[in-house]
Amino acid sequence: MRKRINNRAWLMVLPVLFLVAMSAVIPLMTVVNYSVQDIFDDNNRVYVGLEWFIQIIRDPELHAALWRQILFSANVLAIEIPLGILIAKAMPRRGSVATGLLIFFAIPLLIPWNVVGTIWQIFARPDIGMAGMSLTSLGLDYNYTANPVDAWFTLVAMDVWHWTSLVVLLVFSGLRAIPEAYYEAAQIDGANRWQMFRHIELPRLKTVLGIAVLLRLMDSLMIYTEPFVLTGGGPGNSTTFLSQYLTRMAVGQFDLGPAAAFSLVYFIMILTLCWLFYSLISPAEEQTER
């Protein structure tokens, strides 16, 4: 059955439109305005054209932050997605044990992001943290506040701790939606475990996996609070990601113009990535009738 065409439906969307216009369009326009001016105060500003963009786009520090960001997002996705699938598959499909595990797994998602940072700070510190103390007592020279590699590992471990559960919940709910008959048919067709995963589960998980990757990609590209609390971007600049860099510029140094230009470039990057991904995963679904 097709949806009816009705342009009056716009009326129902208006409240959302108004609210999001307030909180997205006007600020975005403002960012564009800032990005082409050198602002001293409200009444004292100079039009500088694309100067800030040129400065920002060619900033080597920003390039470094961008590569770190890409490396981090790739790292995190490569770990969390397969791990999430593995755990979801290992979970019992129904019953109170499954519900209990779900609640338990959801805990990290509900902790304020700065508290996540705090937890890992406490957990990983070599002087008072459980992980830190254990690694040190094993004879490893571990100190995430001084050693960039250790900091990187800690950060990835933290993100995996924080977000794998999201993938687990998504994949689990996808698995649960697969009718039992599909497994029975495959068994009768003589499929082995891998073939069942490949031909029954994976195709049916396509949508949820798409959502999982999209969400994790977006959120990992925006990561700010957790590294801010855990490492403060250090040691050196080894864990300074794009958001840290931006916030430091905007709030720390109050460089409105460059910060705005950077914001726009940053936003366009994420938008492009997500749009590409979105158009990769959605077209098949568009026309299917249900």
């Binding site: 006007i26 326009m29 403002t30 564009v32 305005n33 800032y34 082409v36 001016q37 602002i39 409200d42 009444n43 500003r45 039009y47 054209g49 694309l50 963009f53 040129i54 786009i57 060619r58 470039v265 366009i268 938008l271 492009t272 749009w275 158009s279 990769l280 077209p283």
Partner: protein, 90 residues
Amino acid sequence: MSWMAWTPVTAIFFTAIILAVIVMTLWELKSPTVLRKGLLWFATTRGDRFFMCLLGSAIIHILWIATTDIEPAVATLVCLISAVLVMRYA
């Protein structure tokens, strides 16, 4: 509204985009678009192609600034040409 820090250039820029959106809407009302499969791997509507033009222009400008010292106005020209191509063939 002074905190929004408008400048004539950005005002023109946004007016142009809003006008373009309005024109697209009227065009759509007059002759509804058809889903079309062009050079890309997925079918697009006229609105999709318009969006791709805008996003594409932004990216072309960014890459332009990142790689060359040539006047960015040339990039704008490149964008216009590519926009026509996208609207026609994508």
